[in-house]
């Protein structure tokens, strides 16, 4: 079949910065989110903040796993590194949050790049094992150095001052988180469509084919790891002020699996999927509040069910429904 190439469409797709397909929808969404603090109570604001953090983590992880095809079971550790670096720089070194937050994200990105070195040689299963080992090492390191990190008792972090303005109210923290999330989503979406994003996809599909096209798989994997880790570190830094308290149990293997559940349920390799998954699964524990002990069980079942029956996730479902010709659908036989 001869295919016509629509050059204009390709240019539109690759235009920089991204013009979202549903510009109006995105704008409306941001507008609604801006109005939230006027209507919602502090608990609901807190929940939305958590959802936004999870969106940041999911977008980073989805670039690494969904696009580049690398397994990471230690994303919670990157979040921990961002959170602890930010918190310690603020409380011990007395740095401003505006400095501590990016430094925390950068520290996580640096360690991500460090972990990317094994990834250049290992793939699939063996990478899963290395990241699992790294998760345990970070976990033990935090627990066993109580003088610095507070150990298993945790570390509380006061609400910071930014440029002389005290982020005392819930709304002020909320707007900071919202602004950073919108920025992170934009960066993530643009990165996915850039030369690097396409290189990620090429490496996932075939590392050898990518190499023969002049893409250096080692360097690109390194980049994917450090970007994903940086996003997680940023989310960790925001987590410190949203929750005000960090302890190592927040950043264990179950948190890592939760992050993976976000992207699997949302849809691998899709920014929209990351957002859908993170928001849906942050809301889920809320719906299960009456049966808290079942929450892990439900998470596990959703993850397994999605992998078995809906491998393309919510995004795949969305696409299928959008393409469906409703006039031909027989609801009733």
């Amino acid at each position: 079949m001869a295919s016509r190439v629509d050059i204009a469409a390709i240019h539109r797709r690759l235009a920089f910065p991204a013009i979202p397909k549903h510009l109006a929808l995105s704008a409306a969404l941001i507008a609604v989110l801006t109005l939230v603090p006027l209507a919602a109570g502090s608990y609901h604001i807190y929940l939305i903040e958590l959802a936004l953090l999870n969106v940041i983590v999911a977008i980073g992880l989805n670039l690494l796993t969904g696009n580049c095809g690398q397994i990471s079971l230690c994303h919670a550790s990157f979040m921990a590194i961002g959170a602890y670096t930010t918190a310690l720089l603020m409380t011990r070194a007395g740095l401003s949050y505006l400095v501590a937050l990016p430094v925390g994200a950068a520290a996580a990105a640096l360690l991500g790049a460090g972990l990317g070195f094994p990834a250049r040689r290992l793939s699939g299963l063996y990478l899963a094992l290395v990241t699992l080992g790294f998760l345990e090492i970070v976990q033990i390191a935090i627990e066993e150095s109580p003088d610095l990190t507070g150990g298993i008792r945790g570390l509380s972090v006061p609400r910071p001052h930014i440029l002389g303005f005290h982020l005392k109210s819930d709304a002020s923290v909320y707007y900071l988180v919202l602004a950073i999330t919108v920025a992170a989503v934009t960066v993530g979406a643009n990165l996915q469509r850039s030369r690097f994003g396409r290189a990620f996809d090429a490496i996932r599909q075939s590392s050898f084919a990518a190499q023969s096209l002049g893409i250096p798989p080692g360097q690109i994997k390194l980049l994917a790891f450090s970007v994903a880790a940086g996003f997680a570190g940023l989310a960790g830094g925001l987590f410190t002020i949203v929750v005000g308290f960090i302890d190592p149990t927040e950043f264990g293997i179950s948190a890592s699996l939760r992050h993976i559940t976000f992207i699997v349920v949302g849809g691998l390799g899709s920014v929209v999927g990351s957002i859908l998954g993170a928001v849906a699964l942050t809301a889920l524990p809320e719906l299960l509040r009456g049966a808290k002990e079942y929450s892990d069980l439900v998470y596990g079942a959703i993850l397994l069910g999605t992998l078995l029956f809906m491998p393309r996730g919510l995004k795949g479902l969305w696409d299928t429904l959008a393409k469906l010709d409703w006039r031909r659908v027989k609801i009733w036989p």
């Binding site: 796993t65 095809g69 397994i71 094994p118 040689r121 290992l122 793939s123 699939g124 299963l125 063996y126 899963a128 094992l129 290395v130 699992l132 080992g133 790294f134 345990e136 090492i137 033990i140 390191a141 066993e144 050898f208 179950s254 699996l257 993976i260 699997v264 002990e293 079942y294 892990d296 069980l297 998470y299 596990g300 079942a301 993850l303 397994l304 992998l307 078995l308 491998p311």
Partner: protein, 292 residues
């Protein structure tokens, strides 16, 4: 350090290592047969311990009846898992398979938590008693049983794989699935029995450990040590897995004695990363060559 202490440490290292060896075996057997690493294997040990607990307390079964029954139930569970979860996605990308087995582990662990909460249960075994003094070394009978059980499992597996028709079929499938299928071997039933066997071995590890450390939902954490042992052994060799387990047990025990508990906890994972980086096929494994 006097030689008596060194000997005592060697004994406890070997008994801890035996447990690691069992878990590593339970990881390597289905991996060799079906190419899938079961990240829920730690929860098989949890499941074994709790099934044993339920049989012993609810039905009042004596220990020697309870153990084989538990292994049987666990094997049944292994079959179910292979048929319902692993078989449908065996051709999917590796990520899917890894995460699916992980999800099964989470489901088992949280189901156990819903049923039994975080309580610590004890399981009585007839062999638990005062240590036996053998010269300067004091041998805890529970540890002796662990070592003996591991040795007999390894012995039985060796006989099974070398001499029985089905054992040979399993080895054939591990070498080349297509060739085995062409020779008339039922690859599906080999997969199923490999998973049943592994689940039973995992449950045995849980049962052996239960009288020593008690039963909690966290027993499944054992899988990390089993993975390290399997990586040391190279993931493709049963002998390597056992040697890796024993080696890890010894290393951990001596590291703990020399440098303290923190170091003891971190050592296995440093070994894991170092081996995967510099000798990815372990000390006893062989590199797989893949045509592109």
């Amino acid at each position: 350090m006097s030689w008596q202490i060194a000997l005592q440490l060697a004994f406890s290292g070997l008994s801890v290592g035996s447990i690691y060896a069992l878990v590593a075996l339970a990881l390597v057997i289905p991996f060799k047969a079906s190419g899938v690493l079961n990240f829920a294997q730690g929860e098989m040990a949890t499941l074994g311990a709790y099934i044993g607990l339920a049989l012993a307390t609810n039905f009042g079964l004596p220990f020697l009846v309870m153990v084989p029954l538990t292994l049987l139930v666990a094997a049944g569970f292994g079959v179910l898992m292979e048929r319902l979860v692993v078989r449908p996605i065996i051709a999917a990308p590796e990520f899917t398979v890894v995460i699916a087995t992980f999800a099964v582990g989470v489901i088992i662990k949280s189901a156990v938590r819903v049923q039994w909460q975080d309580n610590l249960f004890t399981l009585d075994a007839p062999y638990v008693g005062a240590p036996i003094a053998l010269g300067p070394v004091r041998l805890n009978p529970a540890y002796l049983v662990i070592i003996a059980a591991t040795l007999s499992v390894v012995g039985l597996l060796t006989l099974f794989f070398a001499n029985t028709k089905f054992g040979k079929a399993m080895r054939a499938v591990a070498i080349d699935q297509n060739a085995a299928r062409l020779m008339g071997i039922g690859v599906g039933s080999v997969f199923m029995s490999a998973w049943a066997l592994a689940a039973a071995i995992g449950a045995l590890a849980g049962l052996l450990l239960a009288p020593i450390i008690g039963i909690t939902p966290e027993i499944g954490h054992l899988i990390l040590k089993g993975l390290v042992a399997a990586v040391i052994g190279g993931f493709t060799s049963l002998g390597g897995a056992v040697a890796g387990g024993l080696l890890l047990g010894l290393l951990e025990t001596y590291a703990g004695a020399f440098f303290g508990a923190t170091f003891k906890n971190i050592v296995p994972f440093c070994i894991l990363i170092a081996i995967l980086l510099y000798k990815p096929h372990g000390l006893f494994g062989t590199a797989a060559v893949k045509r592109v």
